[in-house]
Point group: C2
Chain length 209, copies 2
Amino acid sequence: MADSHTSPVDPPRGQRADAQRNYERILAVARTVVDEQGTQASLRDIARRAGVGLGTLYRHFPTRDALLEALLRQGFDRLAADADTLAHRRDAGEALTEWLRDLTRGSTAFRGLPASMLATLADAESPLHTSCLAMREAAARLLERAQAVGDIRPDIDGTDLFALINAVGWVSEQAPPLADRRERLFGLVMDALKPSAQVRSGPGVAPSG
Amino acid sequence: MADSHTSPVDPPRGQRADAQRNYERILAVARTVVDEQGTQASLRDIARRAGVGLGTLYRHFPTRDALLEALLRQGFDRLAADADTLAHRRDAGEALTEWLRDLTRGSTAFRGLPASMLATLADAESPLHTSCLAMREAAARLLERAQAVGDIRPDIDGTDLFALINAVGWVSEQAPPLADRRERLFGLVMDALKPSAQVRSGPGVAPSG
DNA sequence: ACCTGAACACCGTTCAAGT
DNA sequence: ACCTGAACACCGTTCAAGT
């Protein structure tokens, strides 16, 4: 696992010095501005505060998602690694819960991020698509073990988990009173995943009789 | 209940004829445009297509939410009335489920609507605030009966339901593959409300031992 | 009393001109 | 190879000038 990382954000090597400096300045400023304004932050504002021309920002990050991906890569890598670690835990259900809690934290790092993440399901060209696919697959791996042990109902997949976690994150950012309920709603959703919750028929279609 | 309704949208009476006509034209066009573009539709576009000046739109609907409220009033009234009817059903749990299903339909009438509705929790000045408060209260009334009968776990309130329903609606509008899961996710959330799902401690805070 | 649209202050995105 | 910022096509919101 000791690969050749030199920087936390992996700015493309072999660039001109000014290009590399701009790349890093933009990324640093973007972290601040996105933290303030959310994923829909003004790109103009980022370029302005980074002291670069607007075209320079677009050259380094052709789309908003490309910029977001650079901001989030570290967190995604960490989450993927944690999933591998947790996959060896004795208690599969607990491992899944813990990882999903981490995913919630990750997906609420910035306001608007749950929306940006779910949008990747419909846009395979987004630079975030691959990372989010990895999250769904990591979720699926932990899920499978928990289901095998009978901790989680079987009619659920990784995309369900990804959607539900982002839904909880989204709700909690819509209004302060809802932010206070984030943990509770997370717990509610986790309860819904247990086999004990699975009444009626399987996938939610209630029998009429 | 036979009040003096003359129009489905209640345009303020006693207006000048041109004002009343503009009000109605704007509302009709807005329904189309919001249907196409969602709640974040261009107000400029609405005014343009309605053939009125931009200032005229603002005069009749000072805020975006004022326009949305006018578009949604009928549906809200209907939902409130349905809640009253369902409150007399024998099966309290079934009554709640049925009403929440209707609420889901209502809150997904337009793309972006779940977000607009939850935002009213933080903005008491929004014209949508009162209507959404009414929805939470209607949910609370049906909920109370279902809880009294033991159909629903007791650690839930009307705001939880309102948040969860809008969360499901929001998720389903984020990407086509998620739209296909709307019913399933709705069922999942409903399952989470049942007492059988309530394990661990009450409000989601897992005991450490 | 109401309507109109220009004016202002913002966007995202592209691209010709520079170094 | 990279940077810059003007240019274009949009926004939401306000408000002076009209009828």
